[in-house]
Each structure stands twice: as C-alpha cells, then as structure tokens.
Symmetry: C2
Subunit: 508 residues, 2 copies
C-alpha cells in the first residue's frame, strides 16, 4: 500500500471514501458503467472477460461433478410463480412484468402499447418454477435420477438501490438445479456444490470464504435450508459470494416433480438449487484492489503480461519492437494450471509512465518494459502488480518464461494469503455485549463503513435477537459456520444459554 503522501492512481483512496473508491476502481479499469436503463449496468470488455474466466473455471467444475448445461425460458407465467407461497412473497416486490406484445401507432406520431397478454409474464428473478415445469416432464422413474442441470443466464430483480456488480437490476449468473431420489442425496448435492464454490473462490479468486448455513430469516424464499459462502471485503464487511439451497420437496410439490421409486410407489422428488453471479466480480475488486486501482489474481485476469516497448527514434523502435515481439512469442501458449496466459504488446503513442499506469489501474499482473539498454543485457525490466509501481527488476530472457510462471503462482498464492490474514485479523470472538456493540460502531464518522469486522459470537437461535441486532447496528448473522467447536455460552443479545457461535457482520 502506498503511503498517504504519495499520489495514488485512484481518488479517493480506500481510507478516504471506500464506497467511492470502489466506483473509481471500476471506472479506472474500464470494467463497467451504469446504463440509461434503471439499475442495469453495461459490462465492458475488461469486466466481461473476468466473467468469462469465472464461467470457464466453474463450468469445468460443474461438468466434472456430472452436471450438464441447458437453457430455459426467460419468462415465467405469473401462475407458475404463485405455486410456491414463500417464493412469490420473496420475489413479488422486485420483478419486471411483461404485459404487452406489440407497439402500434397512436395516431399522434408516437407509439402505444397493444397486444395485451392474457397472463402476464415475469422476467425470471430465479428459475425454480419454470425449470420445475420441465423437470416434472423429464422425471418419471428413479432411473431418471439424479437429474443434474446448470443454466448460465441473465436475471432481473427490480432492485431499489443498485451498485455496479454488487446489486444491479439485471445481472448474469449460473443457477444449478438438481433432482434427487432421496433427501440424503439432495442434501449431499447441496453441500457438494457449496464446496465447489469454496474451492473455486480459493483457487481462482484467491478469496478465503466461510462456509455455513443461513438463519431462517436470511434463507432463500422457498428453501428448507440455505448454505452460503461469505467473504470479507477490505472495509471488513461481508459479501455473500455464493449460495446453495436444499429445497426439500417444496418445489417438487409446487411443480409436481414426482417419480416411481424402487418400490414402485409414486413420490415427490427432492430438489436443490445453487448459484453465483457477476457479484463475484465485485468481490474480487473489493477483496484485492488497492489505491492504485484494480488488483487481479492471475488465474482470473483477462490478460496477464503487458509488454511496454520504449524507444526514442525510428532506429531504436525497429530494434526494440523486434525484441519485444520475440518476447511476446516466447510467452505464447503458456498456462497457469488450466488457465491460458495472455500478453498485450502496448505500442500506443504514450509515455512509458502513462502506459505503465494504464495497466496498473487495469490490474494486469505483470509489466515488462523493454528499452535499448535492456536489449544490450538480453533482458527485460519486470514489474509486479503486487509491488510498488516503481519497483522493477531486470530478468534475463533465458530465465523469463520460468520467472514469469513462478511469479504468477507466487502472486496468486500471495493474494490468497493476504486476504486470509486480513479476514483472520478482523474476525473476533466476542462474548461481551458492550464490546460487540463497540466492535460494530465506526471509529471514524467520515468513514461510517469501516468498523470492526466479523464477530464470532453466541446466539440463542431466536429471530427476535437477530432482529434486535439488525435494527441497532445493521449487523446480520452471515452464517452459522460449519465445523465450529461445540461450546456453551450466552447469546450476545439476550444472554440466554447458547451452544454455538455464529458469524455476525455488516454485509453488502
């Protein structure tokens, strides 16, 4: 991190105004922008490429766990939606509704609505009910199970307050939907896919997450149990980064997904659903970036190495460009595990400093400067995004490929370790109510978002205590984490006996 007195590429800094810093990082890296459609974003190429990398990595993991991709209608008839009571209640307040199928001349030079639909259609805010209608046809016997489907799609939820990537009216996601013969198998699937998310977050996004179960008030509308992965951002708030729902027989009953079991009896199936979205891009930004802009774990970066040739005249240009092109060729077809590495040869008519800062702000992991002096030494000047901008090192061409690969591995691991240390540092076991309230009270009024972090505290299990804390502090139970040691204690709110700690935090 740069010292306060240095100029930073992003204004304001994280410390000055975290929320605004986030917007400015996105702008400086040219990742996305607000559109003129209420709450909808435009994902620009540098941001979209990150989403494509997320897709590629997850898609492979889904395939390896036996899932197949399919595509279902974007529209859900209103009547489908009404089949599951909790579900409709959870989504009715924020949905886009299609009511007409035509525009026609209004006789005044404008256009008016026509072709009113008999039944309104809802633009999918999630697809349990529309996919359920297909599953009811596809599943007849236990032989058809398990049915393991994933969909990559756009989703619309009419959000009131939106923020790029984190909360937008339209977003992109994947939604897994599976059907099982038994409750046990469905529960296993739910947890298996949560674990796939946690491994993906760790190995690709360099994001340490807490896995756990949501409380009743935070679960998915219609689910029996919702599991989640929660990550800590640099303002110490939590970001729910993925969810996996055990739906019991709720949606099977709503959609009539029935099958003949091994005894020849007809019974309702057991279903699950699970998803991650473009919100993950927000998580990457907020977990890793700094006051100079975007920082990207190499395994998720759209491109990995910027080559910056430097020359003063046509003769030097010829020499340097030839050398730079050779370097680019040398670095072709490299892989970091299963991730292909890309290079950018930046020959734009800008100073080397301008080009360096351009790529720093975009979070490219490595920069290679090549000037006439480097050629004499048969070397390049290598700079890493995880070091100070001016920190450069000469690397011999003969060592370059290995050096690049090793450095990228080191950076990928380094970002994870740094995020892990940060999360651990700001996760506290708190057993005293006053301390708990102090922990969540901002130290600095100008930065109301920077507070203590995650509190691991006892909770009696009553939703009234959960609500009281939410009301007082805007703090929620992020999850009841897995694998916590059994211990007795007293609810941080009411003081009554409790047998478990849960994770409390402010959240996005």
């Amino acid at each position: 991190m740069m010292s306060k007195n240095n100029k930073t590429a992003i204004t304001p800094t994280r410390e000055e105004n975290y929320a605004e810093w986030y917007q400015q990082v996105i702008k400086a890296a040219d990742m996305a922008e607000n559109s003129e459609v209420r709450g909808c974003m435009v994902i620009k190429p540098w941001g979209y490429a990150i989403w494509e990398n997320i897709q590629r990595a997850l898609d492979k993991m889904f395939r390896e766990t036996g899932h197949r991709n399919a595509y279902f209608p974007i529209f859900i008839p209103k009547s489908f939606f009404e089949k599951e009571a909790e579900h409709i209640e959870g989504f009715a307040k924020e949905c886009a509704i299609v009511t007409h199928s035509k525009l026609e001349a209004d006789g005044k030079g404008g256009l008016q609505l026509a072709g009113e639909l008999t039944e309104p259609y809802i633009v999918r805010p999630t697809s349990e009910t529309i996919i359920g209608a297909s599953f009811a046809k596809w599943v007849n016997s236990y032989r058809d199970l398990p049915l393991l489907i994933n969909q990559w799609a756009n989703i619309v939820r009419w959000e009131m307050r939106t923020r790029l990537f984190l909360r937008t009216t339209e977003f992109l996601w994947q939604e897994g939907h599976t059907v099982h013969e038994t409750e046990k198998e469905a529960k296993e699937e739910t947890l298996k896919m949560l674990n796939v998310y946690a491994i993906f977050a760790r190995d690709y996004l360099a994001l340490p997450v807490i896995q756990g179960e949501k409380t009743e008030s935070e679960k998915f509308p219609g689910a029996v149990t919702t599991y989640c992965i929660e990550a800590m951002m640099q303002d110490r708030k939590a970001l729910q980064s993925g969810t996996s729902h055990f739906l019991g027989q709720n949606f099977a009953k709503a959609s009539e997904i029935k099958f003949q079991n091994r005894k020849g009896e007809i019974e309702y199936a057991w279903t699950t659903s699970w998803g991650v979205s473009t919100r993950l891009i927000g998580a990457i930004i907020m977990a890793h970036s700094d006051d100079n802009g975007l920082v990207l774990p190499p395994k998720i970066a759209p491109s990995h190495i910027a080559i910056i040739p430097i020359y003063r005249d046509a003769q030097e240009q010829k020499q340097v460009m030839a050398f730079a092109e050779n370097v680019q060729n040398q670095l072709k077809d490299l892989y970091l595990d299963d991730v292909p590495l890309y290079t950018e040869l930046d020959t734009r008519d800008m100073t080397s400093s301008e080009r360096n800062w351009y790529w720093i702000k975009k979070g490219i992991p490595l920069r290679l400067e090549i000037g006439p002096r480097d050629i004499i030494h048969d070397a390049v000047m290598l700079a890493r995004r995880d070091k100070e901008p001016q920190d450069k090192q000469s690397v011999k061409i003969s060592d370059l490929t290995n050096y690049v690969l090793q450095t990228l591995v080191e950076m990928q691991q380094g970002y994870y370790q740094r995020a892990l240390a940060f999360k651990d540092k700001w996760t506290m076991e708190i057993d005293d109510k006053e301390e708990f309230y102090r922990f969540f009270t901002p130290k600095n009024i100008e930065q109301p978002e920077i507070h203590g972090g995650f509190a691991s505290s006892h909770w009696c299990g009553k939703s009234s205590c959960e609500e009281k804390i939410k009301e007082d502090l805007k703090v929620t139970i992020r999850c009841i984490p897995f694998n916590t040691k059994e211990e007795t204690g007293n609810c941080i709110c009411c003081g009554k006996p409790s047998t478990r700690r849960v994770i409390f935090a402010k959240a996005y």
Copy 2:
C-alpha cells in the same frame, strides 16, 4: 439412406412428412422441447452443447479478428427504440413490453400488477439502439476507432408461428456491433464478418452457403445494406443462416455516435452489426440428418464416440469393462483440429441394439462395440453414423486412435461434400417463366414443401416483380449472390432487361 421397406428410427420419414420428421428428429435426439411459455423453447443438454460448440468456435474467430465481448442491458427504453424510424417499424409488431415492476396482493388471495413504469421497456429484439447509447459515450476521437464489440445474449421477438430452433419467441444469438471512421472500413468489416460466417459454416457445420446481398424488401430494418449466407435444406428450401449489416450512419445519427476526425472536425461514425443464432442448430439438423435421426458433423457434435460394452455374465462383464475403460483412456485428450473429442462409455442395462439406436438417433459420429470376441482379437467393432446402422468393421486397438481421427476427418468432409453436391444438384439456372413456375410447384400434393430448389434467374431489380413472385409462389429472392458472371438476360417475372441473376427460393 435406408430403403423404403426398412424400419427407420424416425417416423415419419423425410419423404413422408418433412416438417414432422424435423420435430421427431429433435425429440428422438432429446435436443429441445416446447415450453409452457408461448413460443419459447427449452434447450436440453444435447442441443445446448451444440450451441456451446458453435459459441466456442465463433468466439475464437471473433477474437482473432480483433473483437471483444461485452454485455449490455436486456431492456430498451421505448424512446430509444423510436429513434430510428425503419427500425421501430420492423420490430414494433413483435416485441415483449415490460410495464410494471411489482406484484402485490389483490385482497382476493391473488396477485395484481403494481409499480407501473414511467416509460415502458422493450425486451431486446436486437440491440443497436441500446448499444448505440453506450457507443456514443465511448467514441470521441478517431483514435477510439474502430470499436469492435460482440455480445452473446438472449433475444425476444413475439413470433406468431414458432418452430423449435428455427423461429422461437426467445432465442440465443451473438450480435457484433462495430463503429468505424470511414464508410469504406465499415463496409469492409461487414463483408469480413460475413466471410467469417461462411468459413465457420463450411469448416464446422459442413454447410455450403451462398453469400450475397439482400434486396431492399428483405434487408434489416434500419440497415443500408444487408448481406447474408443462405444454405439449402434437404427439402430444398433456403435457410438464412447469418446476416451482416452495413448500417451507414443511420444508427450513428439515431444514437449520436460522433467523433473528431483526423482533420479535427466532428462527424458521425459508420456502424455495422452482424449475427447468428440458435437457428443454426435447425440448419445443422435439416441439412444433414436422415430417417434414422440426427446427423452431426464431428466438429460440432457434443460427443464423438459411444463405447458400448457387451457381455452376458459377471465374468465377461469384468473382462469387457476393463477393456472398454482402456479404450476410453486411449481415446482421451484427442483433438479434431481445435475441437476436443469426447467419448461416452454406455454401460446402461439395455440391449446393445437399444444402445446403438439411442446413439444413432443422437447423431454421435462413431460407435464402438466391445464384446468378449473383440477382446480376443484385441479389436473393437466400429460403426459410423454416415453408414448403414448394421455396417460395422473390426479395428485393431493398435490402429484405433489413428483410425478414429482419420474417420472423423473423412466424415466431416463427407458431410460437406454431400451437402454441396445436393445444393448444386438442386440449383438451376432458369430463364423461362413457365419453367420457373413449374420448378416451384410441388410434384406431390402430400409433400407441398418438396419442390425444385434454388433458381438462379434474372431479375430486373423492381420490387413489384419480387412481390408478384412471392404472392404467386411464396418464393423470395434469397440474395443477389457475389461473384456472379456479368451477363444480360430478361427478368423472370416481367421479361424486361436484366444484368444479373439472383437466387430465388422458398425459405424458412
């Protein structure tokens, strides 16, 4: 093709009822189905995997030609849509319109619409206007050009008569949108991308296409010129398989896409757009499949080799399965050019005939039967989808990898050659009006769709002649093909002088 007296897997056959045969091929291969949402289809895993293969191949070609992917809002404010007069006229009659953002209890146990929008939103039927709004912000100087963007997205057009893949209310597509400094560059881009489509159709889909220009009446609403690739289906009808539009400055003016040119003056930019959709899956089905079901060019198939182990008892099972797994391992990590090859080990409790037919109907290119006798010979029985089902050949394990690769190359080329010969056979130069009318009159009243094919005939250029032929025969000008020899003749409709032949056909 099987003889008439043989049993075929698909009922009816192409000859009996082509339209119904098409639906049955899709059903037998388990590719897609109609949903309960009007005109929207569900794309099942086997169909969706073909779309993913189309995406992978095209995406690589787009990247190699300098294009980058991005994502824009699904909703288009009504006012945006009204900016281009031809455009709105072309799409107004078939669009889904969002008018509300909420459902609330109606007091009678149901839900009613609420949260009426100030301005209705149209679910994108194409994205020129919404992408134009972003481009207007992104483009300021000639230095920002060319801007080469592609989007993979879902599209909604309220179609009245729908057919799986060919015409559905919602479909998936890619839409390229580019901005250029000069008219010349924009025209070059339009033709370059049309050629990318033609190469892709040839090399991946094994589909020979005619490249050409649309007439005024068939062009994209708002375009200056529309180019297209047209393919011939087995019923000799044309299927428009991709379009590329030179938009002139029409959309630049509608969206205010202006830039400072090299002389320092502000001027409107020149734009293009181009797209292909899930319709291509319909083209693959109709161009290649037969009365036994789906036929897939290997380079677009979701999977390539079905391994079918055959055994009678537990001892044979152990032996055969071990051998089959070795075969599967041997065929791992193979590529056909840049396409990874997949195998399926089909151990289902079904007869070998049932399993063979299952994969024949799905169009898997190769089937390998393995029984105890094959093991003795250290061989497998190989069957090709382009031969008769019972036509099998013993292939030694030591030759298998090469044999498989060579056969797949041969099949890929064979399908192309067969389709090319078919197209050439049924494309006639016709100069006599009576002959022209006879050519397009079905020979068999029970199969009204099977008629002559493509007519290469003279046209004077008047839309009245075009309309007359459309009215009389349901035949349209598919395109004014490139690279036709200059010759004089007489319009096939009015007899007036003409300098060029165009392609007339019935079309999907």
